[in-house]
């Protein structure tokens, strides 16, 4: 018998708006990507100085995860290695690559180099929420919901994980979009499938 797999929380960060489970929770239109993310961070009220050192993609992913797991972190759901993270995007770490590359002609910056890989955003989310389960990052032309459903199902059905954060996080110059979904077994929520995932995009 197939276990019940549901999306129990979903966040979208795009064009100056943060929407959590269908509700607009933060808005700052007419702001640049950098300003928006900074304001969104301050709005969370979190004290996490390392946020300032992150590149755009990591800030984006971190903020999305912060809202996604807002009501969950008190819960014993997120434990060590039973929660995983699977993300994808189109532009990899290109934004960070470009910024880093600019420093190469004088003195390359270690703090910028550290972000020239797309999966570092998974690292930042993992550090923040102490998540140690399986994690993967894929490069795709556009969000492939069918692929993501298949991948996450494999992880949950084979008991590798009890829950998984999956979705899309892309950042380049002033364009950003993140859609993160928390997928859990045997919990009430929206049925986890490709069609339902796409409704958040």
């Amino acid at each position: 018998m197939r276990e019940l797999i549901s999306i129990t929380s979903a966040v979208s960060v795009h064009r100056g708006q943060i929407v959590h489970n269908g509700k607009l929770v933060f808005e700052e239109k007419e702001a640049s990507a950098g300003q928006f993310l900074l304001s969104a961070y301050k709005y969370t009220g979190a004290a996490y100085p390392k946020f300032y050192k992150m590149d755009g993609l990591c800030k984006l992913g971190w903020i999305a995860a912060e809202y996604l797991l807002k009501d969950k972190s008190a819960n014993s759901l997120i434990q060590d290695f039973s929660t995983g993270i699977v993300l994808a995007n189109r532009n990899s770490s290109l934004d960070a690559d470009l910024k880093y590359h600019q420093t190469v002609s004088s003195i390359p910056s270690p703090a910028l180099f550290v972000y020239t890989l797309p999966n570092i955003v998974i690292g930042e989310i993992s550090i923040r929420h102490k998540i140690k389960g399986e994690n993967a990052f894929f490069i795709q032309d556009a969000f492939d919901a069918v692929f993501m459903e298949q991948y996450v199902r494999i992880l949950l059905n084979n008991d590798k994980l009890q829950s998984c954060i999956c979705g899309w996080a892309d950042f380049l110059a002033d364009d950003y979009k993140a859609v993160l979904m928390l997928v859990e077994k045997n919990k009430a929520g929206i049925e986890f499938n490709a069609q339902n995932m796409l409704t958040y995009f």
Partner: protein, 397 residues
């Protein structure tokens, strides 16, 4: 349901194909040398492990234009060798997949284009950067080898191609594909060299993994792929595969963007997870091909994780990065191929240049090539930036 390894292909600083690599490993001939192909300000200071062929020579071998990224050429050569090695039946309709990992994509071409372009927006050949992004490299090679059924690119730093391999296995186990070519590639670029230099983890001499006085890593380049097939396809092959991928796991260290936690949590979880999946006891692992980059941080983290997990029953271990350097996105793939070879030939490769074993570890790597061993199971570790840790276990069928 087992997943079989039907073929292998590799190109690295120690050889342009499997036979050459194997020969070098046996003879203790490493590929770390002064920079010969890459143009860099660090040329006279930093040894690297380049594939000993120019772009023109690689292009000829790969059957690609020499204006194509070096990353793609390396990928093409190794993927083709693996495919040929598998001797797949020609007249069966097979669901094929190509899962390739890399970290630099077409950066080698882009970083040559960029300075010209920055100075003058009309300069530089735009076509050179068309394959900059990681996914393009994969697609290009997929088309050339005819594996376009399902194509995907994984980019998780140094564990990328290990992740590609077990993702390929999942496609087979979940009946999505019949045959998967999985692994990874990366070529040496100024971008990477300068970046690693600024993190101060490069060795100015040939590296000494798992040595008490290790100074850092040497960057390398190359590509490594395995051809994975289901049991059904394995039965159809002329040459029955004798190696399976019996276990794998991935975990996140959740500690730091680029450093490993001192107690090696992520490494421990990955190795432990792979063992649990394969149902093996630690005492059944005959050899561990270490991630062993030669940095202060990785080696103690990985060593500590092994100490905790294997607790007294330590198998022979070694880092072949002492031969090939750290090939980043390709390392999981190249080292998977080496692990398969170790199993097939019953041998263990030496960890070169070990002078002083690490005092905090109750074991040390092997320093001589050993063969005529009865190996049943081999483990290969790949730990990447972002805390991404993977471990693969190959077993004799």
């Amino acid at each position: 349901m087992p997943v079989f390894v039907a073929g292998v292909g590799v190109i690295s600083a120690i050889g342009n194909n499997v036979a050459e690599n194997q020969d070098s490993l046996k003879k203790g001939i490493h590929g770390i040398a002064p920079m010969a192909y890459l143009q860099s300000a660090h040329r006279n200071r930093l040894p690297v492990a380049e594939v000993k062929l120019s772009n023109d020579e690689l292009a000829q071998k790969a059957g690609l234009s020499n204006r194509i990224s070096r990353t793609a050429m390396l990928s093409m050569i190794a993927a083709e060798e693996a495919l040929a090695d598998a001797r797949l039946p020609l007249n069966t309709a097979l669901r094929k997949a190509f899962i390739s990992a890399n970290s630099v994509g077409g950066m080698d071409k882009t970083e040559n284009f960029f300075p010209e372009f920055s100075a003058n927006f009309h300069a530089g050949r735009l076509r050179d950067v068309v394959n900059h992004e990681c996914g393009s490299i994969t697609e290009l090679v997929a088309r050339k080898i005819g594996f376009t059924g399902f194509v995907s690119t994984i980019s998780t730093a140094c564990s990328s191609s290990a992740n590609a391999i077990f993702y390929g296995a999942r496609l087979i186990l979940n009946d999505v594909a019949d045959v998967v070519i999985a692994g990874g590639c990366d070529s040496l670029t100024r971008f990477t060299l300068n970046g690693f230099n600024t993190l101060m983890i490069l060795d100015e001499k040939p590296c000494q993994p798992f040595d008490e006085n290790r100074r850092g890593l040497n960057l390398g380049e190359g590509a490594g792929y395995v051809v994975l097939v289901s049991g059904k396809i394995a039965a159809m092959l002329q040459r029955k595969p004798d190696v399976q991928l019996s276990g794998y796991a991935n975990a996140n260290d959740a500690y730091h963007q680029t450093a490993s936690s001192p107690d090696g949590t992520g490494s421990f979880l990955a190795m432990d997870g792979a063992l649990k999946m394969s149902g093996l006891k630690t005492s059944e692992i005959g050899y561990i091909n270490l991630h062993g980059t030669g940095t202060q941080n990785n080696d103690i983290a990985e060593g500590t994780a092994i100490k905790r997990l294997f607790d007294g029953h330590y198998p022979p271990v070694s880092s072949t990065k002492s031969f090939t350097g750290h090939t980043l996105g390709a390392s999981g793939g190249i080292e998977a191929v080496f692990s398969v070879l170790a199993l097939q030939k019953g041998c263990v490769f030496p960890n070169l240049r070990l002078e002083t074993p690490m005092k905090d570890l109750p074991f040390q790597p092997v320093t001589r090539f050993m063969d005529n061993l009865q190996l049943q199971h081999v483990m290969s570790n790949s730990f990447g930036f972002g805390g991404n840790c993977s471990s693969l276990i190959f077993s004799k069928s």
